[in-house]
């Protein structure tokens, strides 16, 4: 993002976590409230990034292992004659999906609670910041009119 920009910039989805990173703009006269908001957003972003990158990586790895073990059980290789990667069909993968979901169930519950809390906090802080800014603007307007 350009150096002179006064707003946040959002980028393309991350390869591992599929989340879009945000670069936050730090205004020169950032109030304490605004700093709290920015830090909360940065923290949430980092936390989300960590969680999903690791989760997706685990998913991919376990999926590969599953496919490999199933193919081996069937006596096939990872790649067939034409060099194409052998895959299992959806029904065979269904066992893996079910297993993966139940294994990660607790992890997701924890993450959900965490995410909801963060989301509400951030949105509430945004509301506060917006309110403060609006009041400030109104005061400035009033001053201008009185002058």
């Amino acid at each position: 993002p350009p150096a002179h920009s006064h707003s946040d910039w959002i980028g393309p989805p991350d390869k591992h976590s599929n989340l879009r990173p945000v670069i936050f703009y730090v205004p020169p006269e950032e109030s304490a409230l605004e700093r709290r908001l920015r830090e909360a957003r940065q923290e949430a972003q980092a936390c989300n990034q960590r969680f999903w990158a690791r989760h997706n990586r685990t998913f991919r790895q376990e999926k590969e292992e599953f496919i490999y073990s199933r193919l081996k059980a069937k006596g096939l290789e990872m790649r067939d004659e034409s060099g194409q990667k052998a895959t299992l069909n959806a029904e065979e993968m269904a066992d893996f999906y079910k297993d993966f979901l139940s294994k990660n169930f607790k992890k997701h519950l924890q993450y959900n609670r965490d995410w909801y809390k963060r989301n509400f906090t951030i949105t509430f802080l945004m509301g506060q910041v917006a309110l403060v800014r609006a009041l400030r603007w109104l005061r400035w307007k009033k001053k201008n009119i009185e002058q």
Partner: protein, 440 residues
């Protein structure tokens, strides 16, 4: 690049015209390839994957029929280019093109190629300024509120209104439709607000406004409030308190029960089905002011319809659900998934037969609807037995035209109001009462 046109779930923009056509075509009962292609062209929508999108009940993915099927044989992608406004200080130019939907019929029935859209991914790979542009706002809000799903929800509410055994009143109808639409927008927005990181990780939902940072969460919540509060107020004050209460309850059910429940237990499907069933009940109560058996029957039909619709859809999304942490029957209890779908297809037959018994329609309704219901039950049975992608897709597509057709037939078989008035003073009194309630 190769643009493949992907089928999006139904977005019924102009319901009446499509109904007529559907009627004509459905009479053949021959689902030809051409017919399916027509349906697909008709049903272009944006991808709103997310259960909440399920059948339309207001906010519901489950309820919304707008699930995106991932790997269809006849998969075609719609390129949707967003019309960008190039800001003055942006150094690189965005690919400015008008938003257009391009359809290309795929000639090959099997093994459709799924190639990513060149233009879309290019825009995706750029860094964007997180600044709200007023020109973009309508489009963004439309996507936030899942406007097409909302339209469908309002459609079912209208069906409920139309089926009520009272003379049609236009102002009441309009108020009820508007109120329902606003409530649906609010619920959908809150749903998206809750689900940002999950939506980012699923193919169907990764282009939503909050995921892309086109709008801030604060604005999304404000929008939801500014739709929901007037919407419910409109329903409570302009129509009647019962409808308002149902609307508020539905919003609550969708945002606070269904959405979190999606990640906790498979019970979400049933809750979602209720969410989908409430709008027609609301339409009915808007017209009559009371919750009769007819309202419940209509709600029951929508409720049962959700299951074959959603379960068939979710069959193809198992990978995304598993990775995303969503607890869906198709992943955890596949047998149950198929059983429930079949069970409810059959229930539809029973419910259709109950309609004349309750005096809502004439006896022609079960007779005419029987072939339609039998067909979807047959597909439900095939899905139950085969449990594969093709049967799930067939069932899903059938559900897309089955519901509008059923509602249309129901409406045409509606018992004439005059007949009922002849049946004595009691009915006449209740009719007057209903009129009184409607007066604001």
């Amino acid at each position: 690049g190769l643009f493949v046109w992907r089928l999006h779930s139904a977005g019924m923009q102009k319901v009446p015209c499509q109904f007529v056509h559907l009627c004509r075509v459905a009479n053949n009962r021959l689902i030809t390839f051409q017919y399916f292609n027509f349906l697909k062209r008709m049903y272009v929508t944006q991808y709103n994957k997310d259960l909440s999108q399920r059948a339309k009940p207001k906010p519901d993915s489950i309820v919304s029929p707008f699930h995106e099927l991932q790997q269809l044989d006849q998969e075609k992608k719609v390129i949707h280019k967003i019309s960008p406004i190039s800001p003055v200080h942006q150094s690189w130019s965005e690919t400015s093109s008008r938003s257009e939907l391009r359809e290309i019929k795929s000639a090959v029935k099997t093994e459709g190629l799924v190639t990513p859209v060149g233009a879309e991914s290019k825009e995706d790979r750029q860094w964007k300024e997180m600044k709200l542009r007023l020109d973009d706002l309508p489009g963004i809000l439309a996507r936030l509120s899942k406007i097409k799903l909302t339209a469908l929800v309002v459609g079912t509410a209208s069906a409920g209104f139309a089926m009520a055994p009272v003379p049609f009143e236009l102002p009441c109808f309009l108020l009820a439709s508007l109120g329902t639409g606003l409530a649906s927008c609010a619920a959908n927005s809150i749903n998206q607000f809750f689900e940002v990181p999950f939506d980012s990780n699923m193919n169907r939902t990764k282009n939503r406004p909050l995921v892309r940072g086109q709008i801030s969460p604060l604005l999304a919540v404000c929008f939801a409030a500014s739709c929901g509060i007037p919407g419910i107020a409109l329903l409570t004050l302009g129509v009647n308190p019962l409808t308002g209460a149902l609307g508020a309850f539905n919003i609550f059910l969708y945002t606070c029960c269904y959405t979190p429940l999606k990640r906790m237990s498979i019970a979400n499907t049933w809750v979602g089905a209720v969410v989908g069933a409430i709008p027609p009940v609301m339409g009915w109560t808007a017209a009559t002011g009371s919750l009769d058996a007819g309202a419940l029957l209509l709600g029951g039909i929508l409720y049962s319809w959700q299951f074959p619709h959603f379960n068939a859809l979710s069959w193809g999304l198992r990978e995304d659900y598993s990775r995303g942490g969503y607890c869906m029957m198709s992943v955890t209890h596949p047998g149950l998934c198929r059983r429930v779908a079949l069970r409810h297809c059959l229930a539809l037959i029973g419910l259709s037969t109950a309609a004349p018994v309750l005096g809502i329609t004439t006896w022609t309704f079960p007779v005419i609807s029987l072939p339609v219901n039998l067909y979807i039950s047959y597909l439900g049975f095939r899905f139950y037995r085969d449990a594969d992608r093709s049967s799930s897709r067939k069932l899903f597509f059938c559900s897309l035209w089955h519901l509008p057709l059923l509602l249309l037939v129901m409406f045409t078989c509606k018992k004439p109001v005059l007949e009922k008035e002849d049946k004595g003073d009691l009915l006449g009194e209740s009719h007057e009462r209903a009129v009184e309630i409607r007066l604001p």
